[in-house]
């Protein structure tokens, strides 16, 4: 080939490789789940955050994985993500709608509620027809009882909240079949679930805090800690505290 032809081929090949590399980098490696921003919805030093746990993820390509959803504060839709942002030095009032069934903990020490205000969580049980009044719980025995579905733990803040689950065999066999489970259809409205509420203070300085679940709920994986337990957007995520 002549010199100009060789140079042109080279330049084109090089640009193609660079373009391909950038595409791979941005698309596969750089992607993260969306962040639900609650910072502008705080008032009087408090902010309300709502999450949901579900027994399957019909909205994704891993339909049998358990997952969390986070409610978008403006549209009030449950988004399939585990990343959210709250302001610093604020009391965060968390509501978790727990639509999954129970699993025992590998280490029962995570059955104790720590790091919340009062070291308790308030739980209301809905069995498909009626809801119990909200009562405080401070510790769960996940081996003796069917009592916890997932945990919401922020180790960096010492926060550990075992999310209570429906406790009877019938309820656990009758869980909501779609996700997110938003009571749009009569089936969803009859799905047994719990409503767990607790509060904690975010620290004064900002930062990024990871959070995870300590229940081995990654079914089909060794030790129960694979799959959704190790994938952002399912059972692990980040809480950004904005100073």
């Amino acid at each position: 080939m002549s010199l100009p032809a060789r140079v042109t081929t080279l330049v084109i090949a090089f640009l193609a490789v660079v373009a391909g590399g950038i595409y791979v980098a941005l698309h596969y490696i750089g992607s993260q789940p969306p962040v639900e921003d609650y910072t502008s919805f705080a008032s009087n030093g408090q902010v309300n955050v709502t999450l949901m746990t579900a027994a399957q993820t019909t909205v994704s390509d891993k339909p049998d994985w358990v997952t969390y959803f986070i409610e978008n504060p403006s549209t009030h839709q449950f988004v399939h993500t585990t990343y959210f942002k709250v302001p610093a030095n604020t009391k965060v009032n968390v509501t978790i709608l727990g639509y999954d069934g129970c699993t025992p903990l590998r280490n029962p020490v995570w059955g104790k509620v720590t790091g919340t205000i009062g070291n308790v969580e308030n739980v209301s049980f809905f069995n498909g027809k009626t809801a119990t009044p909200s009562q405080p719980f401070s510790v769960f025995n996940t081996w003796a009882d069917c009592s916890v579905q997932h945990t919401f733990a922020i180790p960096g803040l010492g926060l550990n909240v075992p999310v209570a689950s429906p406790t009877t065999l019938a309820e656990n066999n009758n869980l909501c079949g779609t996700s997110p489970c938003v009571a749009n259809s009569s089936d969803e409205a009859k799905a047994p679930h719990t409503v767990v509420t607790f509060s904690f203070m975010t620290p004064k300085q900002g930062g990024t805090f990871r959070w995870q679940c300590f229940i081995p709920c990654g079914l089909g994986y060794l030790d129960g800690n694979g799959g959704p337990m190790g994938t952002p957007g399912y059972m692990m995520g980040q809480m950004e505290v904005q100073a």
Partner: protein, 660 residues
């Protein structure tokens, strides 16, 4: 009863039987890359379907939504389809059916098409390997740039934790899989027959196969990114590797495939070196590079199969529900660690030995002195190779192994620094009152010695169990192995490329750019990895994306230097591409005035390397000796070869071309 011997008949070039004339066909009809790709795609589709057919009934597959069996079978049939599309099985099947062999067609004419085929010419395989290895190395390097970008800040995360671990694992595995063959592949396969006076390698088909498995392994490893990556790093420790998602299968399969490629390459080279030396090429005249290739080949053949075993066991644990590495069902996580490191330790000497070989080959040429202590150098390489099998537990000092074992392995690990030190003795002796010419190859060789010094000394720190208690698993280990592997092997590799490119392609790389490449790379490399010794000793573990705030300045310095290091490698790419494609400065003689046998033939070498099998008259390092014989006689008189073979009674007596 006497065994009837048949007269020897020369193989026609291209591996054909004499008398068989291949049909000349257009390039798109002959098996090459494009048919291989088609075969691979068909193979993957079939394998994936088969895996789904077999595995979708299992409860574990249903609840996890991961069908590892489909992935693994897909990869297996991908490889088979790829090889079938390349035409690897054609001659095998022909021979089974009793038909005449076709070789792989007529490839002696010029042109680029032969580089995309499964070819039996070791020189073509060498160049295929060279381009392949450069591509793999730069991919791994880009992944390293991503790692250092993430480590710029201890708290702000550019990548998600999954993506970061994906990138860390892909970088480490790409480098460790591919760099074992970075010298054996391009330089070993190309140069060893030339250096020993042979017209061919012992098993050209096996050699070509070892190359063609590498693009498969590359693509399979990168496909792990599409499958969510693997969270174990290049070491693949069980039981995390059993717990991991689908990307783990890509890792295990790719690494296992490279283990096969390594074993084949080593097997071929060892047989070539032992059996195909020209008359007069005694062991005491063998170039040091060939000694390095020989010892490395033995390590390949003995260590790589153990890796294959370990990877296979990971795959069966993940797909067939075995429990080799699962404690509660009778397996043991220590089993994996031992299997992996039994390979893993010789692996790092697989990486170091060719570096030693190249620099020992380069320094006599550019000091114009014989290699000081030839026997010591060869003994050093053998010592390293043998001892490398007895040290692997030093990766496991803190793991809870039998505590009595640790002083033993501390001793063997310390002992291995003695033969490694021989290489320095040889270098220092060769430099004594020499006439140094600081060309690009020589600069890289000297850079290799300086870097490997730091790498080796830090290895002594790691071999001491109490010091290892702080340093194990930290960035100190990272700095140690980057100094020995990148500072040692890669610097030597670049030196080898600058030195031998005139031989391989008849083109000299631009010397000025070469020097710029060396100095920027050397400075950036040391600036990147020297602070990491401190970072590790100050408590930062490997593979983490959050670290102590007081280490941020050092990490930022390292990251910026790493970007500069990437930039210096771009200078090499620029030099290489422009010199080979655009400038093409012809260099067909012996530009370095080397005594090596490979330099006595034209550059690039003709297809059969030597018109006649040479008779070797003296060693390649006899500089400064006015009475030294020339290294070989390339036109031995008729009857010299025949006379040497007369006692064997096979009746081959012509001196023109029958191989020893």
């Amino acid at each position: 009863m006497a065994i009837e011997t048949q007269p020897e008949s020369a193989q026609a070039p291209g591996g054909r039987e004499p008398g068989a004339t291949p049909k000349e066909r257009a390039w798109w009809l002959r098996p090459a890359w494009h048919t291989a790709l088609i075969g691979a795609v068909i193979g993957y589709a079939f394998g994936h379907w088969l895996g789904n057919f077999m595995g979708s009934g299992y409860q574990q597959v249903g609840t996890s939504d991961d069908n590892d069996l489909a992935i693994v079978l897909g990869y297996a049939f991908l490889v088979i389809g790829w090889l079938a599309g390349l035409g690897v099985f054609n001659d095998v099947v022909r021979q089974m059916l009793g038909k005449p062999l076709n070789g792989n067609g007529h490839d002696e004419n010029g042109g680029l098409a032969k580089y995309f085929r499964y070819t039996l010419d070791h020189k073509v395989v060498g160049i295929q390997y060279l381009i392949g290895m450069l591509v793999y190395f730069f991919t791994g390097g880009l992944l390293a740039m991503a790692i250092r970008t993430e480590l710029l800040s201890p708290s702000y995360h550019v990548l998600s934790p999954t993506a970061y671990l994906e990138v860390v694992g892909a970088h480490g595995t790409m480098m460790m899989m591919m760099m074992t063959s970075v010298v054996v592949g391009p330089l070993g396969n190309y140069l060893v027959p030339l250096m020993i006076g042979s017209k061919r390698v012992a098993f050209p088909r096996i050699e070509a196969l070892s190359f063609w498995l590498t693009p498969c392994a590359y693509v399979i490893l990168l496909s792990s990114i599409l499958l969510g990556g693997f969270p174990t790093g290049w070491t693949g420790y069980a039981p995390l590797s059993i717990q991991a998602g689908e990307g783990m299968d890509a890792y295990a399969f790719a690494f296992g495939l490279m283990a096969i490629s390594m074993t084949l390459a080593g097997f071929n080279l060892a047989c070539t070196i032992i059996c195909y030396r020209a008359p007069g090429m005694r062991w005491s005249r063998l170039p040091m590079f060939v000694w390095a290739m020989l010892t490395q080949s033995f390590l390949f053949v003995l260590a790589a199969p153990v890796l294959l075993g370990g990877m296979y066991m990971i795959l069966t644990d993940r797909t067939a529900q075995t429990a080799f590495f699962v404690n509660q069902l009778g397996g043991s996580s220590y089993l994996y660690e031992d299997l992996f490191w039994f390979f893993g330790h010789p692996e790092v000497y697989l990486l170091a030995l060719p570096g030693f070989g190249i620099v020992s080959e380069i320094i006599p040429v550019f000091t114009r002195k014989p290699l000081f202590g030839y026997k010591v150098a060869a003994a050093g390489m053998f010592g390293v190779a043998i001892l490398s099998f007895f040290v692997w537990q030093h990766h496991l000092f803190d793991s809870g192994i039998n505590p009595d074992m640790r002083p033993l392995f501390m001793l063997t690990t310390e002992l291995i620094s003695i033969p490694t030190g021989f290489i320095y003795l040889v270098a220092l002796g060769t430099f004594w009152k020499a006439k140094l010419r600081l060309t690009s190859p020589m600069l890289f060789a000297m850079g290799m010695y300086v870097n490997f010094l730091f790498g080796g000394i830090s290895g002594v720190f790691l071999s001491d169990v109490p010091a290892d208690t702080t340093a194990h698993g930290s960035f100190f280990v990272m700095a140690h192995f980057h100094y020995t592997i990148m500072g040692g092997l890669l610097f030597a590799f670049f030196g080898g490329v600058y030195y031998w490119l005139p031989k391989i392609m008849g083109i000299k790389l631009n010397e000025r750019l070469g020097k710029i490449h060396f100095w920027t790379m050397f400075i950036a490399f040391n600036s990147t990895f020297m602070p990491l010794f401190a970072v590790g000793m100050m408590g930062q573990p490997r593979r983490v994306f959050e670290y102590a705030r007081n280490l941020q300045t050092l990490n930022d310095w390292v990251s910026i230097s790493a970007f500069c290091l990437g930039g210096s490698l771009l200078i090499f790419v620029f030099n290489f591409v422009m010199s080979t494609v655009v400038w093409r400065k012809r260099e067909t003689g012996n530009p370095w005035r080397s005594r090596g046998l490979e330099w006595q033939i034209p550059s690039p070498p003709p297809v059969e390397n030597f018109t006649h099998v040479p008779v070797v008259l003296s060693g390649p390092y006899e500089y400064g000796d006015p009475g030294a014989l020339p290294v070989a006689d390339l036109n031995p008189p008729a009857g010299v070869i025949g006379g040497a073979l007369a006692g064997a009674g096979t009746g081959a007596t012509t001196s023109a071309g029958s191989e020893a």
